[in-house]
Structure formats: C-alpha cells, structure tokens
C-alpha cells in the first residue's frame, strides 16, 4: 500500500464520519463545525487529485464564506441551538431504503464508467493545470458563456443585496 492510498483512506474515513456527525449531533453549532470538517475533507480530496485550485477554492468559498455565515446565523439563535426532540420519525425505514437504493444505483452507474477501474494517470509535468483552467474559462470554444453568465448573476445578486439594505431615509 502506497502512502497516497493510506492518506486517501484516512481522509475518506474522517470525511464520511464527520458527515454522519453533521446530521446526528443535537447541537446546531457542533453540526456546523462538523460540516466544516466534512468540507475540508473534500478539499483534501481535490488536493490529492492535484486539483489545487479547486481545493483552495473549496476552502475559501465553503469554509470561508458559507460555513461562517451558517455559524453566524446559528450563533444569533443560541436558545434554539439545542434540539431536544426525537431525531427520527416513523418514516425512517422507508428513508433508509431509498437512500441505500440511491447509493447502490450511483455506484452501479459509476462502475460503468471506464475510468472507474484504471489507476490515476500521472500528470504531465510541463503543462500548468491552473493555466489551462484559466484559458478554458475565457476561450470562446471553452466555457466563456457559462463563466460570463455566472458573473452577471453574481453581479445582479450584489446589486440586489445593496438595494434590499438601502436605507432611503439616509439619502
């Protein structure tokens, strides 16, 4: 077993178990913190796959922005952070059945893909994957249209946020 495989197994175990903790702990803040561990584990997978940009973007966006916002929102509601109700309702057998079915279906679908059983191809040293990603995002036969649409959408959201919080009395 190579060191990479050991690292992969450790990271996978941490990610999966913390994902289970997210939905099973009763304290909302703890759930949010476990969510951060899960997201960080996913960033580690990107790093293992040599996708350094995606790994860092995962940390910046999901941990730095989304998880912090979640924690911030929960912290303002300390009284309801502790949930005392039952954690499952009567439908849990059906839900478990559907999840197992869905998971096995996904595994079956992925196993049909030819890359499933081949080992990870070694990256060619000279081509910078980050540069290729950047060029693909702005080249006309790459992903320039989705990229521009996404940026216009984000700009609209930004302006919308300003309009929503605009205090007309101050003007």
């Amino acid at each position: 077993m190579s060191p990479m495989q050991i690292i992969f197994i450790v990271v996978a175990a941490i990610t999966l178990s913390s994902a289970v903790m997210v939905v099973s702990v009763r304290n909302l803040i703890h759930a949010a913190l476990w969510l951060i561990v899960t997201l960080f584990g996913i960033a580690c997978f990107f790093a293992i796959l040599n996708a350094s940009f995606l790994a860092v973007a995962q940390v910046v966006i999901y941990i730095g922005a989304i998880a912090i916002l979640v924690i911030f929102a929960v912290m303002l509601t300390r009284k309801v952070a502790q949930d005392t109700g039952p954690q499952v309702n009567v439908n849990w057998i059906l839900a478990a059945f559907v999840s197992v079915l869905l998971f096995s279906g996904l595994v079956w679908l992925v196993s049909l893909w030819p890359g499933f059983s081949t080992p990870l191809p070694v990256m060619s040293g000279e081509a910078d994957p980050l540069r290729q990603l950047g060029l693909a995002l702005v080249s006309s036969n790459g992903y320039v249209l989705p990229f521009e649409v996404a940026s216009v959408l984000l700009l609209a959201a930004l302006i919308g946020a300003i309009i929503v919080t605009w205090d007309k009395k101050l003007r």
């Binding site: 060191p3 703890h30 951060i36 941990i63 730095g64 912090i68 924690i71 912290m75």
Partner: protein, 415 residues
C-alpha cells in the same frame, strides 16, 4: 555550501534509500520531517517575538521594556512562557469544552500553515504551490473560524461580541485584500509565491505602490491590531474573544497574534519587496534567509509602529473606510493594472515599470482630489454645533419637563 537545508535533505534521502525504502515513502518521511522542522523553527522564533514586541512597544511609549533577565532582557520571554505554563487553567461554567479547547490550537495552527508557501530563500521553501496567493486567502478564512469558535464556546457575552465584530471586520477586509492580491499576480503572471519572487527583478512596490499599501492596511485589519482592534477593544468589551482564556491557552492566542503579525510582514515583503532577493542571494541561498527575515521584521516593526501610534477607529468608520474607500480603490487599481499589462510591452522592462508607476501616481492624484472634495462635507458634519448646550433649549427644558434621567448604562442586549 550556502544551502545547508537541501544538503541535509539530499543526505537523508540517500540514507533512507540505502535502508531500502521505496521513493514514495521517502518523500512522505521527508515531507513530515520538513513540516516538523519548519513548525519548530517558527515556534522558537515566536518565543523571541514576545521579547521583540515588548521591547519595541516600550520604546514607542518612552520606556525601557524588559531589561532584568539576561542581556537586554533576552531571557524574559522564557520566564513569560514558564509563567503561562504554571498558571491555573480555568474553563468557565457552561463553556463548550471541546470547541473551547480546540479554538486556541486553530488560532495558532492557521498562522503556522501560512509558512508552508512562503519562500524563505531561493532553494528553501515549504512548497511551491501554484495557487499560493489564493492559499493565503483560504488560511485567512480558517483563522476567522478559530476566533468565532473561541468567542462562541466561552459562554460570555463580551467574547461573543468580540467574535461578531471579528467576523464583520475580517469578512469585509477580505474583499479589498483579495482584489489587491491580484495585482502582483497580474504583474508576475503566476499565483505561486516562488514565481512572484522570481519575477521581481524590479520590486513590485515600484510598479504597484497602491496595491502594496492596500495589502498592508488590510493585513493590519486581518490581524485585528490597532487601529482595527475593535474585536478585542479593551475599553469596550474587556478582551474580546479571548476573555475567558487563561494560562497557556491564552498564550496560544498571544503567540498566534505575534506570529501572525510577523507572517503578514513576510507576505507583504514577499509580494512587493522581493522576498529573499538581495545582493548575492542567488549564489548563496543562505543569504536569502537573512534578507527575507530582515524585510519581514521591518514590516513587523512597521505594523507595531502603526499599532502603538494610532487610536482605535469605530466600527462604522471601519466599515465605511473599507467599503467606500479601499474596495473602490482596489477595483480601480486592478482594472488599470490589467489593461496596462496588455498595452505595455513586456520585453522592455523599463517602459513597463515606468508606465505602471505613472498610472499609479495618476490614481493617487485623482484619489487625493476626490478625498479633498469630500473632506469639506465630512468636516462640516462634525463641526455643526450640538443642539444641547444652547441657552434657549436649556430654558425650554427647565420649563417643560424635569430633566430626564440618563438611560441606565446599557445592559448587554440579547444577541
């Protein structure tokens, strides 16, 4: 010669392969050893920083600072560490134990993580990550998390207020910082810190002085040091997020803050002042280490200079300064730099540098003009006479109602 670290690394790799280990395992062992050595070296440096900080603040405040233990008080930090270690460790009632204990570790660990990408010399660096600049931003995001965890888990309203303020400050100052960080990326054509240093045959501060200043200001804000220290404002919320921490747990926050300041100095010097570059640093990499720490300590000193010279700004001033001044300025600089980078010839470095410098000077001039036209409005607002002290109002209030009691000292509102 001139590069002891890599000599030892090559010797160790040879030794391990002589023992019959596979290359994958040798790489792993060397990586782990490198992490341990780098972290230990930085932590030992951190102990010295306690002395540096106390000595410098003493000089700024016209005092002598620690001078009893050892020459120039150099053994004082050891005594400080021993004091922190033998102090009682108090966990407040109702604190979230696990989160409470992890928070100081995260606060220090995130600072140590930054050193993974900093090129200390031409051959000595943790790793040449091709997204080094973005990595710095990502680690900054995680350090915010450590402070939130400390503030929330302490079960203390002041601590929680400090955490809220920290989030407001760090999340907003991240915006101009990220935008300004793109300027050296454009100039170097790479996000790797090693490549950025290698591209600085002319220091980037000459081509992008505004971006350098912006990053310096936002770095101070990210540190939460004065004038941006509203997250631990002593006169308002006692100590902010670390109010409940005692002993070595507080020590970890303190050490993390000092090391973070030095690290920010190192980042500024790496991005804009050539990092390890200096006379003879290419042929003797060990000289690069000297230049790197010289520049890093200079900016650490500059951060301390700002901290001990300026008063704290209010939270509304802090946010206005960020969103209405730093962010538009950073966006302007980024757009101008990106356009000029396409127009100016890369082959002729002198024209390129002068063009960038002139563009920056024009931006500074226009900004100064706008600020001057605004300053009249800002000053007028402050200089308007308050409506309290006029004799007419005083007479009216006496006749109409008994003087109202001032509201009871504002009880902490439920957050």
């Amino acid at each position: 010669m001139g590069d002891p670290v890599n000599t030892i690394r090559i010797w160790l790799a040879g030794l391990l392969s002589g023992w019959g280990l596979s290359p994958g395992w040798i790489a792993l062992i060397l990586a782990v050893l490198g992490v341990v050595v780098l972290c230990t070296a930085v932590m030992i440096l951190d102990i010295l920083l306690v002395w540096v900080e106390r000595k410098v603040v003493a000089r700024f405040q016209d005092r002598l600072g620690p001078n009893r233990l050892g020459p120039f008080g150099l053994i004082q930090p050891i005594a400080d560490v021993i004091k922190l270690l033998i102090k009682e460790n108090i966990t407040p009632q109702g604190a979230d134990r696990l989160v409470y204990n992890i928070a100081p570790i995260i606060a220090l660990a995130t600072v140590l993580l930054l050193w993974a990408v900093l090129p200390i010399s031409s051959t000595i660096s943790g790793t040449n990550l091709n997204v080094g600049v973005l990595y710095i931003v990502a680690i900054g995001a995680i350090s915010t998390l450590g402070i939130i965890m400390a503030g929330w888990s302490s079960n203390n309203k002041y601590a929680l207020l400090g955490a809220f303020r920290t989030v407001a400050q760090m999340v907003s100052y991240e915006v101009p910082m990220v935008i300004a960080l793109l300027v050296p990326v454009i100039l170097a054509g790479s996000m790797g810190l090693n490549d950025i240093v290698n591209a600085q045959s002319v220091w980037f501060i000459v081509m992008a002085p505004i971006a350098g200043l912006l990053i310096f200001i936002t770095a101070i804000a990210e540190l939460g040091r004065a004038p941006f220290d509203i997250n631990e404002a002593e006169s308002e919320i006692v100590a902010g997020f670390h109010i409940e921490y005692t002993g070595m747990k507080f020590g970890l926050f303190y050490a993390g803050e000092l090391l973070h300041a030095l690290t920010m100095g190192a980042i500024v010097s790496t991005l804009f002042f050539g990092g390890w570059r200096g006379p003879g640093s290419q042929t003797y990499p060990i000289l690069g280490v000297f230049y790197f720490f010289l520049k890093a300590f200079f900016f650490y000193w500059a951060i301390m200079w700002v901290k001990y010279s300026l008063p704290r700004i209010r939270i509304d001033q802090m946010l206005n300064f960020n969103w209405k001044f730093l962010t538009p300025l950073a966006l302007t600089v980024l757009i101008v730099t990106a356009i000029l980078d396409k127009i100016l010839p890369r082959s002729n470095m002198a024209v390129y540098t002068v063009g960038m410098l002139v563009a920056n000077l024009i931006i500074i001039g226009v900004t100064a003009l706008i600020l001057r036209s605004r300053s009249g409005i800002e000053r007028k607002r402050v200089a308007e006479p308050g409506p309290i002290a006029t004799p007419e109002r005083a007479m009216a209030s006496i006749q109409s109602t008994p003087p109202a009691q001032p509201p009871a000292s504002s009880s902490p509102t439920s957050t």
